[in-house]
């Protein structure tokens, strides 16, 4: 500060008074400072591309600069492919033995330019599509640059187009790859037979307007026999069938690939496909691949009339859901066959065809990744992607539940249940609960979760003596979630979660609750029921504990459920719900209700008329205001959880489970569960 002030005041006088050497010194110093400033500025504002580190790791060269390899005319030609090859005969799976996470590793040979003896190139070095494909593989998780760890090898020799290939020379080029070994574990991509999908045509999103034609054929080079049969179909069914062919009268400059004609009418291709419900894919020179991808993309349902044509990715894709396959022999009946398909199914097939296109055929990248995934599934079948994941469109995946306990199975009564008592320090009440619960005939084990870190549980001799094993688990932290932890000590499937102050439930009531759970092992079975309601004024959910005709939740102060839900609660709870519960020390029961309903899609079962755990006198002491804040808090939980789950999974029902003869006019002593408590 001092210096700058002085310069400002005395600046003009300063320099003349300095000696020459000082002056030079200062000038040098200032110029250094100035240069520094400039340099900093330059580096700060320089175009950022040079700083992006990604590009520094990837070579940046021209395709023309790749090394040239001369193939002598007498270089070895590999053996012919073995047509009987199967995954277990020709594939060397040992190379995939050390891949972590059940994922194959793919190596790409570096690009070379192959020329024959006379220096003529064997093929076009690499096509745009093949470059895209290799880039996609290289960017994926499958890629490795370590040839010794790779289990699959992709040559960079472009064989996409068989037509332009010099077969012998290409084979020679493949044979001299360092790991070729008769082609073991090598993957070649060959898009022809079949034309390429055209990724440049502007095609709008399929429209919902009705489609004009029922059946459309757009292929150009068809065998006259097929064309004759198509013509017969058109003659028979008139306007609803449209058969297109190559245009003959077009001027030279129009791209003939984009046009199709019927007599003298000209149609834009592939846009015309959007006008049809069903599109024919007939046996052509290349089994009609090009037309298939165009058809899928237009949301038209392909009608495949080509025997022994293997539909793309048919190993994993269920084409029955997106296409109609008709034997060539039945071609004449195709119209009536298609007419017999109900409209709803047609709509679903259209959606499915469109989804297949979007997920697996839309780009070279999608094709490459689907191919590698299929190979991966073959090598590690136990880690394979399931049928649903391959085939269900996202809307179906999100819009459906798959109950993890789908098998209707009534566990044997002899298995019994494990009671888990969460306690902090109410030892006296805890002991009473233990004594009461131990009277239930089907109890097989009692687990006390001691949630108090500052105090040790009472000595062993002080615990009540009961007929079943009693275990005490001490927790590391006082968290409500500890109640739902999948302890190794739980050996039964049925779990009874019970608070350390629930002493009013009778032994009959608990035993009956267990019996009900056996019939509904995939549900929460509890005593007091609660309801969630939509508050129209506030536009949000509200918690309701009044005596209503409906139930959507049960309190887990005493509830039976499958121990698998403990695993789900601890490890699969969506979002930050677990932390929220532990932070608020509340709503763990609501969270459990949400979780179970969300994963099973089923409602809770409320057992017996019980409405609340506390005796009426006890709640009177708490007072109204406490009750009010409690309700507000619980409502908040419901809203929070509904937003985390993205939906309201709770199901509302109007029934509860009672013993068969409950309140029937029947001698009490003859009833199985006479002592079902009051409210």
């Amino acid at each position: 500060m001092c210096a700058s002030v002085k310069y400002n005041i005395r600046g003009p006088a300063l320099i003349p008074r300095m000696k020459i050497k000082h002056r030079i010194y200062y000038i040098t110093l200032f110029s250094v400072v100035l240069l520094g400033l400039i340099a900093t500025g330059v580096f700060q504002f320089w175009p950022h591309s040079i700083e992006s580190s990604n590009d520094w790791s990837v070579e940046k060269r021209s395709v023309r600069d790749v090394p040239v390899v001369r193939l002598p005319a007498d270089s070895p030609i590999p053996e012919r492919g073995d047509l009987s090859c199967r995954m277990h005969t020709c594939f060397d799976v040992y190379r995939c033995g050390f891949n972590p996470k059940n994922k194959i590793k793919v190596f790409i040979y570096s690009l070379k330019k192959y020329v024959d003896d006379s220096g003529v190139p064997v093929s076009n070095t690499i096509s745009r599509e093949y470059n895209e494909l290799l880039t996609a593989i290289s960017d994926s998780d499958y890629y490795t640059d370590d040839i010794t760890r790779a289990c699959l090898f992709v040559p960079s020799i472009d064989v996409l187009n068989q037509n332009t290939l010099r077969i012998k020379e290409t084979a020679q080029a493949l044979a001299q790859l360092s790991r070729w070994d008769r082609g073991t574990n090598h993957l070649l991509f060959n898009m022809l037979p079949g034309g390429p999908p055209d990724y440049n045509t502007a095609l709008d999103v399929p429209r919902d307007s009705p489609r004009r034609y029922f059946l459309l054929s757009s292929q150009m080079a068809l065998h006259p026999e097929y064309r004759e049969e198509l013509g017969a179909l058109q003659a028979k069914h008139g306007e609803s069938v449209l058969v297109l062919d190559k245009c003959t009268n077009l001027s030279e400059d129009v791209l003939s690939v984009r046009k199709r004609c019927h007599e003298h009418q000209v149609f834009d291709y592939p846009q015309v496909l959007q006008e049809a419900t069903f599109c024919v894919v007939l046996r052509g020179a290349r089994l009609g691949q090009a037309v298939l991808s165009d058809v899928l993309r237009a949301g038209c349902v392909p009608v495949v009339i080509a025997d022994s044509y293997i539909l793309p990715f048919s190993e994993v894709l269920d084409w029955k859901r997106a296409s109609v396959v008709v034997p060539e022999e039945k071609m004449a009946d195709v119209y009536s066959i298609l007419q017999s398909i109900p409209q709803r199914q047609i709509e679903e097939m259209q959606r499915q065809a469109r989804w297949f296109w979007e997920a697996y055929f839309q780009s070279i990248k999608a094709i490459a990744l689907a191919t590698l995934q299929i190979i991966n599934d073959r090598i590690y079948p136990y880690a394979a992607i399931s049928y649903e994941e391959w085939n269900d469109p996202p809307t179906v995946k999100w819009g459906s539940v798959s109950n993890p306990l789908f098998l209707p199975l009534i566990p044997p009564q002899s298995q019994g249940f494990t009671a888990i008592v969460l306690t902090y320090d109410r030892v006296e009440s805890l002991f009473r609960v233990i004594t009461e619960v131990s009277k239930v005939p089907s109890l097989s084990k009692l687990l006390v979760v001691w949630n108090n870190q500052n105090k040790s549980p009472p000595e062993e001799s002080l615990w009540p003596k009961i007929r079943v094993p009693l275990k005490v688990v001490r927790t590391a932290e006082n968290k409500l979630s500890n109640r739902f932890f999948p302890y190794d000590e739980i050996e039964t499937e049925a779990v009874l979660a019970i608070d350390d102050d629930i002493i009013m439930l009778t032994s009959d009531e608990l035993q009956f609750g267990y019996e009900v759970w056996r019939e509904f092992p995939d549900r929460l079975v509890g005593y007091p029921g609660r309801l969630h309601l939509w508050d129209h004024e506030m536009s949000k959910w509200k918690y309701e504990s009044e005596w209503t005709n409906e139930v959507s939740m049960v309190l887990t102060g005493a509830a039976f459920y499958h121990k698998y839900f403990n695993y789900l609660y601890t490890y699969k709870m969506p979002g930050d719900i677990k932390n929220w519960v532990d932070a608020h020390m509340n709503c763990e029961d609501i969270a459990m209700n949400f979780l179970v309903a969300n994963v099973t899609g089923k409602a809770v079962i409320k057992v017996t008329p019980r409405k609340k755990f506390k005796c009426p006198e006890c709640t009177a002491i708490d007072g109204l205001s406490l009750d009010q804040t409690h309700m507000v808090e619980r409502s908040e939980c419901i809203n929070k959880f509904a937003s985390v789950f993205g939906t309201m999974p709770l199901k509302v029902v109007e029934h509860r489970a009672d013993p068969v003869l409950y309140k029937d006019d029947f001698p009490e002593k003859l009833k199985s569960f006479p002592n079902i408590g009051s409210l």
């Binding site: 026999e225 690939v257 020179a285 698998y564 029902v653």
Partner: protein, 638 residues
């Protein structure tokens, strides 16, 4: 002056240092990543001229050019389009003719033939049939001659029970082959049928249910049981020793028990080698709910065309044993749970009896037989996720649509009156708010459970002319049914019991603390059970229903219980309990009625009924609160 100069000197130095640092930092950042980092994947190069590359398709080249001629079907690549004449099946329906067996037959062949003859597709006329079935059960050498209607094998199914039978004597031609555990080398996918390899003692019908008693594996259960070469199983130690299941390293297996005989140890996974002889173990593991882990099986899994085995078994490469072991150890509980349950579903639905195996085979053939292939049928039970079952018999579908909850409301769609008298129905009927239809029943019991096309709703309320129900009762029962559409929801109940003294089944209306059947004189159920009743009951049971109409209640309850494996649901009824015994079977259900349950149980081959001890009541049922609060007030009257 001097001090200030010194100060400014220091300042300038400081400033230049600072600037220097500022300037060098970005330079450092630039300097480090030049040149490829060691270890990071280099990747496919980003070509500078990538945009200029040509497409693999030449500009003038059309995607399609010279057309190709049709090919005649060849025997080697037979499929349904090429080698099967479906026209016959479409005109006359799918009918199966069985050539009478000429040779003394084995027990298994006898069972299979009996099952086919008992199925609804069987026909005695070879001209009517669309599928001709020929059984080859002779040891190699002794073979019957080519049958009369052979026709190159077209529309023939050759049932080969012994691997080597008649392989040399005649050409199979266009005939399909149904074989137990065929080798993958000769199996023609999409044409041949892979049957399971059944033990000789496999029951004809009924069959033992799956042995799984709980959904998740018991914590004490072993991870892996190995099928031993000599038969039997042993529990494997799963520490990743080099050869945990290789038969060659027997020296030290640690604490393992050998389980001689057929007993299967309590294990989560059952490892089965790929030899064909081990196919028997596969079914054994399936029944036990032990997830089969197949090491490179050399045989085709049964019904692989229609059953998605990846949901119930693990097929692994035997060349990567350590990977498999690691995968089993790390398998998430959710997957284990799903696999276990699916084994039981498949066993109970398709494999537990010879009859089921044959029905599955015929149904899968029938589904191929349609003139075209397209999406699944509309059966509520043949959900695609369950492995596209041909008319499966069970409800469990892991996936169901997530429907947003809407207030349940009852709307009666229509009333169907089944006039079951020889006299014509009266000309005038009472005015009703919904359409009323009268169907002539011709005194046949089966007409009652026929899938009439007039039934347009999923829910059916079956009533007798003398049933009387209040609207509260019906409303509540319907709301309950909506929660459990696969079960029967009724008001009056019976329960079955095993009569030790007489060694037979009995049933009664008296055992009031539990029940296992509801009376169809007043019950809600899904209309699909009409389809099941009409189309999938074995012939013998259909005849029983016609002959003994009072058994139809029992039969219907058996049918639903066999499909759901769950008890029906009882809802409260206003009537007193004493009225429960049905008028048509008075008193203690009489000896004839008791006979019913025995005969039906024999027809099913097992006892599917399950008892329940609960009743579903409205939430506020008989609670001491104001009646005005309650929705179903009609139920409150004592």
């Amino acid at each position: 002056m001097q001090s200030c100069r010194r100060k400014s000197l220091w300042l300038a130095l400081l400033a230049s240092w600072l600037l220097g640092l500022l300037g060098i930092l970005p330079l450092l950042r630039l300097a480090v990543p030049t040149g490829p980092r060691a270890g990071a994947p280099q990747g496919w190069p980003r070509w500078l001229d990538a945009e200029l590359l040509q497409s693999f398709l030449q500009p003038g080249e059309l995607p399609e050019d010279a057309p190709q001629l049709r090919r005649a079907p060849r025997g080697g690549s037979c499929d349904w389009g090429a080698c099967f004449d479906t026209s016959k099946c479409r005109s006359g329906g799918f009918k199966v003719f069985v050539y009478p067996a000429a040779e003394p037959t084995s027990e298994m062949q006898h069972k299979i033939l009996a099952s086919i003859e008992g199925s609804r597709y069987h026909t005695v006329s070879p001209t009517e049939a669309c599928l001709h079935l020929l059984t080859l059960d002779a040891p190699a050498g002794a073979c019957s001659l080519v049958p009369p209607k052979w026709n190159g094998g077209k529309n023939h199914l050759v049932l080969r029970l012994h691997p080597a039978s008649c392989s040399g004597t005649f050409q199979l031609g266009w005939a399909m082959v149904a074989e137990a555990s065929p080798t993958v080398d000769t199996f023609r996918p999409g044409f041949d049928v892979a049957l399971p390899l059944l033990p000789e003692a496999h029951p004809v019908r009924g069959g033992a249910p799956g042995q799984l008693r709980q959904h998740s594996p018991h914590p004490g259960a072993a991870l892996l049981a190995l099928a031993e070469e000599r038969g039997g199983w042993r529990v494997a130690a799963t520490d990743s020793s080099a050869c945990p299941w290789d038969g060659h390293c027997e020296q030290d297996h640690g604490p393992e028990q050998t389980h001689p005989g057929a007993a299967l140890p309590n294990a989560t996974f059952c490892l089965i080698p790929g030899r064909r002889a081990d196919a028997l173990r596969f079914l054994q593991a399936l029944q036990a709910g032990c997830i089969p882990v197949l090491l490179s099986p050399r045989w085709e899994l049964p019904f692989s065309e229609v059953i998605d085995w990846t949901k119930a078994a693990i097929v692994a490469d035997k060349r990567l044993p350590l990977q498999v072991l690691a995968a089993l150890q790390e398998m998430p509980p959710t997957r284990v749970l799903a696999l276990r349950q699916q084994t039981q579903f498949l066993w109970d639905t398709y494999f537990s009896s010879v009859e089921k195996v044959i029905r599955t085979a015929l149904e899968s053939l029938r589904s191929f037989c349609r003139s075209f292939r397209t999406g699944s049928s509309e059966h509520p039970l043949t959900h695609r996720c369950c492995g596209t079952a041909p008319q499966g018999h069970s409800w469990p579908c892991p996936r169901s649509p997530r429907v947003p909850w809407t207030s349940p409301s009852i709307t009666y769609s229509r009333i169907l009156v089944l006039w079951s008298n020889d006299k014509p129905p009266p000309p005038s009927w009472p005015e009703t708010a919904v359409p009323l239809l009268v169907i002539e029943g011709h005194r046949k019991v089966s007409a009652r459970f026929f899938p009439h096309s007039a039934i347009s709703t999923d829910a059916i309320l079956s009533l007798d002319a003398h049933s009387s129900l209040s609207t509260s009762e019906v409303d509540f029962a319907f709301v309950v049914w909506q929660s459990f559409p696969e079960r029967m929801v009724g008001f009056l109940t019976w329960s079955h019991f095993w009569d030790e003294a007489q060694g037979r089944w009995g049933y009664t209306a008296e055992r009031v603390n539990e029940f296992s059947m509801v009376l169809t004189s007043a019950a809600f159920y899904h209309r699909y059970y009409h389809t099941l009743f009409t189309h999938s009951l074995p012939k013998a049971l259909r005849r029983l229903a016609e002959a003994a109409p009072h058994c139809v209640d029992v039969l219907m309850n058996f049918l639903v219980a066999a499909a759901t494996k769950l008890p029906p649901i009882k809802v409260p009824s206003g009537r007193r309990h004493e009225d429960a015994s049905p008028p048509r079977v008075p008193g203690d259900l009489g000896p004839a009625a008791r006979d019913c349950i025995d005969r039906v149980a024999a027809g099913f081959g097992h006892m599917p009924l399950v008892s329940s001890r609960l009743r579903l009541d409205p939430v506020l049922f008989k609670d001491p609160v104001s009646v005005l609060r309650k929705k179903y007030r009609g139920l409150e009257k004592p």
